[in-house]
């Protein structure tokens, strides 16, 4: 006879402990801060949802949230198509393929603050190659003073840093398509656009889902690069959500509102990621 008991639950314990330490406990401390007003280690008041209300009506947060959405939208709109295009135009085998892969991987290996520093110097009008060259060509370019210049520089920097990731994901996705699909398409006299539209794109769907999610989450949390490059300026033009949050939490030491802000921030990312996921996998169920 088989013995029925619940001993197997003990096996889940290590994972549970791990998740508790990695996610649940830190998050609960944040929840803890977000509902209290703390003056010193012995003086604290329970404030309920006050901090949430304060943060949600804060125009600074509204502004940086809007900037953040525009930034992430631009990042996705540029990096996803560009990454696909790069992957499509890469050689499929031989020495050149390996070389391309290495070249693509290089930006991904550079630490964030170094990327920021590189572009900070690169874009300077006096000693930077890009800034100097643009000015010499007659364009007035100054990312430290001009809002548009700052925006474009931050965007180009992110594209330079992360398009490789999309390209590498798509490249691996493309290599996984069996040759026979291309052969059948040639027999059917499909144009290269039709091959892309009806074979490559559908087969890339799962890697594109990963690419879109990763790029959305990362770009939505961007901090180091604009911080090093522009410091959030000029004015607040390139101050994104995480920088606003850091100012609040570390600069002003407003732990309560910052904690409430963090949780809202987290929920936004969760919600948008879920929306992307649902939208991109929904097509499979119909009919």
């Amino acid at each position: 006879m088989k013995v029925q008991n619940n001993h197997a639950w003990w096996l889940v314990l290590p994972v549970f402990a791990l998740v508790a330490f990695s996610a649940i406990l830190p998050m609960m401390t944040v929840v803890n801060y977000s509902v209290q007003d703390i003056f010193d280690p012995t003086t604290r008041f329970f404030v309920g949802t006050d901090w949430y209300e304060k943060v949600l009506t804060d125009p600074r947060l509204h502004d940086s949230l809007l900037r953040q959405f525009i930034f992430s939208a631009c990042v996705l709109a540029i990096e996803i198509p560009l990454g696909i295009a790069v992957a499509l135009s890469m050689p499929t085998k031989g020495r050149w393929a390996s070389l391309c892969l290495i070249v693509l991987a290089i930006p991904l290996l550079i630490p964030w603050n170094v990327v920021g520093t590189i572009w900070q110097i690169f874009g300077r009008g006096d000693i930077g190659l890009l800034g100097w060259a643009l000015n010499a060509l007659g364009f007035s370019y100054n990312y430290a003073a001009d809002t548009l210049d700052a925006w474009v520089t931050v965007l180009v920097m992110d594209v330079w840093h992360w398009t490789s990731l999309v390209a590498l994901l798509c490249y691996s996705g493309l290599r996984a398509i069996p040759d026979v699909y291309y052969q059948a398409a040639r027999i059917d006299r499909a144009s290269s656009w039709a091959v892309f539209r009806h074979i490559q794109l559908p087969k890339l769907k799962s890697v594109l889902l990963i690419a879109v999610m990763l790029r959305f989450m990362d770009s939505f949390m961007i901090y180091t690069e604009p911080f090093v490059l522009t410091g959030g300026g000029p004015g607040n033009a390139t101050t994104f959500l995480s920088q606003t949050l850091t100012k609040m939490a570390v600069g002003q030491f407003d732990l309560g509102p910052a904690a409430a802000f963090s949780l809202i921030y987290f929920l936004i990312i969760l919600l948008v990621s879920w929306l992307f996921y649902t939208a991109m996998t929904h097509g499979d169920q119909n009919r």
């Binding site: 026979v180 052969q183 040639r186 027999i187 059917d188 009806h198 074979i199 097509g283 009919r287």
Partner: protein, 365 residues
């Protein structure tokens, strides 16, 4: 619609082929006539698919020419050759409906939509795909997908030829027979050259008028199923076609007869004269199990043999017997009584074939 001629065609996947073994296709000359239904039969890895891909233009041959109606098409792409090919595993365009899948090759040709619709409906009816036309292709079962794949090959009726690369591998057995009949009907209706690759002799002989048997990168025999059965021109054909395959035994020349062990077999008329010319070659005697004459009574010319095993396969029986240390098989009809332990066999001379280095020795009768 075209006659397809292979002229000194050879192909190697290696860029610097050294010997014959580096070739997937060894130098071959062959003609597929316009309007024929052909099968290309051979074991896995014999170069069938390679040959098919060379004909369709997916692969460029290392040597020789592919000619359509006498015109070399080596430099033409599959699109320009206007050929249809159905692959072993189903290829469907996932995001399209079945209708759009079938319409795809026609639309790529720029056919007007009314013509597209009528062609698609026609082919869907033949393949019994009408109820699925509005369904997305990715939600189909494997054999439905393969029917769609075949449909895309059949929907264009102006093609030079349709090539099938083991198209029924993933199809249920009961559907296989039906689909083969369909293909045959379509062939009769449209009079398109069809080449059907398979490793299944039954599939080959039910589909094709003429079968090309491929072995080791070469077409070793091209003939009707009957010719392949009665006069295999290569030991491989004898062995591969038929169930069980031909009995083959190594023999030595002995005057005007051949011998193995202590058994001396007189050669059929005219063949003995060829023996001197075959000195130094490996000689084999071949006889189909169907043609071995078995009896449990001694008779003139019959040799006593030891019965090893008898298997009843329902509609016929396979008798395994030992003659001078060599095992042979004979096929007995259902009614025939199975001899026990001892039997007397005879090899009728018109069905006894001689092979030298695997090639049939034609008798000078």
């Amino acid at each position: 619609m075209a006659e397809i001629r292979l002229h000194r065609l050879a192909h190697s996947y290696s860029r610097t082929p050294r010997g014959a073994e580096d070739y997937a296709i060894r130098s071959m000359d062959h003609v597929w006539e316009q309007g024929g239904a052909y099968a290309l039969l051979g074991p896995s890895g014999c170069g069938k698919s390679t040959l098919l891909n060379i004909i369709s233009g997916l692969l460029s041959p290392s040597e020789g020419e592919v000619q359509f109606d006498g015109r070399a098409v080596n430099d033409l792409s599959p699109e320009q050759r206007n050929i249809a090919q159905v692959f072993q595993f189903p290829v469907v365009y996932d995001t399209m409906t079945v209708f759009d899948n079938l319409a795809f090759p026609l639309r790529n040709q720029g056919l007007p939509e009314t013509k597209v619709t009528s062609k698609v409906r026609e082919i869907a009816e033949v393949l019994e795909l009408q109820p699925l036309l509005d369904k997305k292709a990715r939600n189909l079962t494997a054999d439905e997908k393969q029917k769609v794949s075949m449909g895309r090959g059949l929907v264009r009726d102006d093609v030079s030829a349709i090539l099938f690369d083991e198209p029924l591998t993933v199809i249920d057995p009961h559907l296989k027979w039906k689909l083969r009949r369909k293909l045959k009907q379509i062939h009769e209706q449209f009079n398109i050259t069809m080449v059907y690759v398979t490793h299944d002799q039954l599939e080959a002989s039910t589909f094709a008028d003429k079968i090309a048997v491929m072995y080791g990168g070469q077409i070793v025999q091209f003939g009707t199923p009957r010719e392949l059965f009665e006069r295999p021109r290569h030991t491989f054909v004898g062995f591969f076609i038929g169930s069980p395959g031909m009995n083959l035994v190594d023999v030595q020349p002995d005057g005007d007869a051949v011998r193995f062990g202590a058994t001396r077999l007189p050669l059929p008329n005219g063949m003995a004269a060829t023996l001197p010319a075959l000195a130094g070659k490996r000689l084999q005697l071949g006889i189909r199990p169907e043609f071995v004459h078995v009896s449990d009574e001694p008779s003139a010319g019959a040799m006593p043999v030891e019965v090893v095993h008898a298997a009843d396969l329902g509609t016929y029986k396979i008798l395994t017997f030992r003659l001078d240390g060599t095992l042979f098989k004979a096929r007995l009809s259902e009614e025939q009584r199975v001899p026990e332990q001892h039997a007397y066999v005879a090899f009728p001379s018109q069905w006894t074939l001689l092979y030298a280095d695997d090639l049939l020795v034609e008798g000078h009768a």
